[in-house]
Amino acid sequence: MPFLSSTSAPGLRLERITVTYPGHREPVLDGLDLDVDDGRLLALLGPSGCGKTTTVQVASGLLTPGRGAVYLRGTEVTRVPPEHRGAAVVFQQPMLLPHRTALDNVAFPARMRGRSHRDARTSALAHLERVGLDALADRYPRQLSGGQAQRVALARALAAEPAVLLLDEPFSALDPSLRHTMRDLLTTVQRELAVTTVLVTHDQTEAAAVADTVALLDRGGLLQQAQPADLYARPASLAVARFLGCPTALPGHVTPQGRFACPLGELDLPDAVAHRGPGHLVIRPEAVQLGTGPDTVAAVVHSVRPEGAFTALVADTAAGPVHVLLPPGRPPAPSEHVRLHLPVAHRWVVPRAG
């Protein structure tokens, strides 16, 4: 529903943000544009070093960008210091005050807004309840487990009643099982309060699991911003496809009639493919099947590698290597001749880079 968000100001807008750290020639963020719809959760996804953390620093005011502007709910805040901005951050480490109890940590933002001690504690308890830790209100940070401490940090950030909630890899220091619980907690709380949220992560399953929208960042620029399902089905570029685990890319071009011409012949494409001209055919490994019959292409198995219960196969076709993820069963051997079925619905074409 993009038309809905376009009527009101976005919760957070970054406009042409450029940041270069002293002593570095290459900018960390290079003219980054990013919109987060009001009340929605955006996952900022990308490899390490792509500028995710810097984006959070700019949005929170901890870093003033060399160029560009930051807007919160339509108001420019580029030069507003963090303490007056209303962008609460949850970092990878909980960053709780070690000499304060969990309750007093959560009461801290309200105290900073001049609320009375009693008042701040009452609302803090409600926030602790929201993350299910009201029973541990009197504990000191050292007496909390990593997950508990991070939940207190989340409660504390919510207690700031922020215009935007920024989460910088908040779960990556936690055990995998705990991570799932924390994700569920985050989505519940976020939907309940409808607070505009940015979740920075390098984990694409995490991004896809919690986000309304995923923004894929690489080398300081935005590669694509889309709903999670669209990002997987319709990557905007080869880089996006590769990052999301789709290594197959067969070169060719899309004919004016919307068919993909390559050494394998002219292949049908789904109607959604609007691109014409040179490009790469991409198809996810789990969509490809072994098969027989007219709708298949010939291939020679290049390599076979077990991947858990599945088998990862690379097979050479006339147009290039195709990656296949086979369900449990008896996989073919290397050098074996096979035929591959590439379902039309799963085919997609990205423009040729450069």
């Binding site: 750290y21 002293p22 960390v28 390490s48 070093g49 953390t53 810097t54 620093q57 901890l62 870093l63 003033t64």
Partner: protein
């Protein structure tokens, strides 16, 4: 505005350091400088000549000071390194108590220690000897070396030694190629501090050395207290202050080179330090 504040801060720091030290420099070259003249009436090297004269013992005392300070630096650093290694890497029983005991001498009043040590030395025949003075200097120096070396070992990964052993390195090769390079900054800082403690020591030297062991601080004290010879006081002062400042300066430069060399070896470690936050 911000720049002006910076400059004012730097100026204040400079004045803070220079205020007591600058007059020393002027006095050392002053001939006649009678009150209330703001600058000396004439400049001369007389005080330096005086200091170089054999009957003033300055050169001999400098040698004694240097010998004591170097002995203390090496001994205290070795003892401190051994103790820190034992405390940090082996976590022995009562480690907390041992650490406390090793750091406690920093609080010991020098007079009490000196008179007590004198009692011991009179019985052991060590009184009025440089060796006895060196042993006394070790006591206040040790807590500093222990503390610095504990800090050094805290960030030291003993698995580097184990890895080197599995690659065929002997114990001495491990010491030379792994342990010493990794601990070099801590060892340097530790030795510098111990040197400084010994080099500055006055009261215990004078009480335990019995006037036979003459160091630079002893000459400085007696000149400053009794002679009224400000020019000679200033010269002795400069001789006393120059080596420590030189040592700190060289140490800092070496440390910076060491850090730079190690930082280059770790290209991936910049992610956390690259976030300058409010540093700008």
């Amino acid at each position: 505005m911000r720049r002006a504040l910076h400059s004012a801060g730097f100026a204040l720091l400079t004045v803070w350091i220079a205020a007591p030290l600058l007059p020393l420099l002027i006095w050392a070259f002053a001939g006649r400088w009678v009150y209330p003249a703001l600058v000396p009436q004439d400049f001369t090297l007389r005080a330096w000549d005086q200091a170089a004269a054999p009957q003033q013992q300055v050169i001999a005392a400098t040698g004694t000071s240097l010998g004591l300070a170097l002995t203390t630096a090496v001994t205290a650093t070795v003892l401190g390194a051994l103790a820190a290694r034992g405390l940090v890497l082996y976590r022995p029983p009562a480690a907390g108590l041992v650490r406390l005991l090793l750091l406690a001498p920093v609080l010991v009043p020098p007079f009490a220690l000196a008179v007590g040590v004198q009692e011991v030395f009179v019985r052991a025949g060590l009184s009025d000897q440089p060796a006895g003075v060196a042993l006394v200097h070790l006591v206040p120096a040790l807590p500093y070396t222990v503390l610095v070396m504990i800090g050094g070992y805290a960030t030291y990964d003993v698995r580097m030694e184990q890895t080197a052993r599995t690659l065929g390195a002997s114990r001495s090769a491990v010491l030379r190629h792994v342990t010493l390079p990794a601990l070099a900054p801590a060892l340097l800082a530790s030795a510098t501090l111990a040197f400084l403690v010994s080099w500055s020591e006055y009261l215990m030297t004078v009480l335990v050395g019995g006037g036979v062991v003459t160091t630079l601080p002893l000459l400085l004290f007696s000149t400053a207290a009794g002679s009224g010879n400000q020019a000679l006081t200033a010269v002795l002062g400069i001789l006393t202050v120059a080596p420590p400042i030189l040592l700190f300066g060289v140490g800092a430069a070496l440390l910076r080179r060491h850090r730079a060399a190690w930082a280059d070896a770790e290209p991936a470690s910049s992610s956390s330090s690259a976030a300058p936050g409010i540093e700008r």
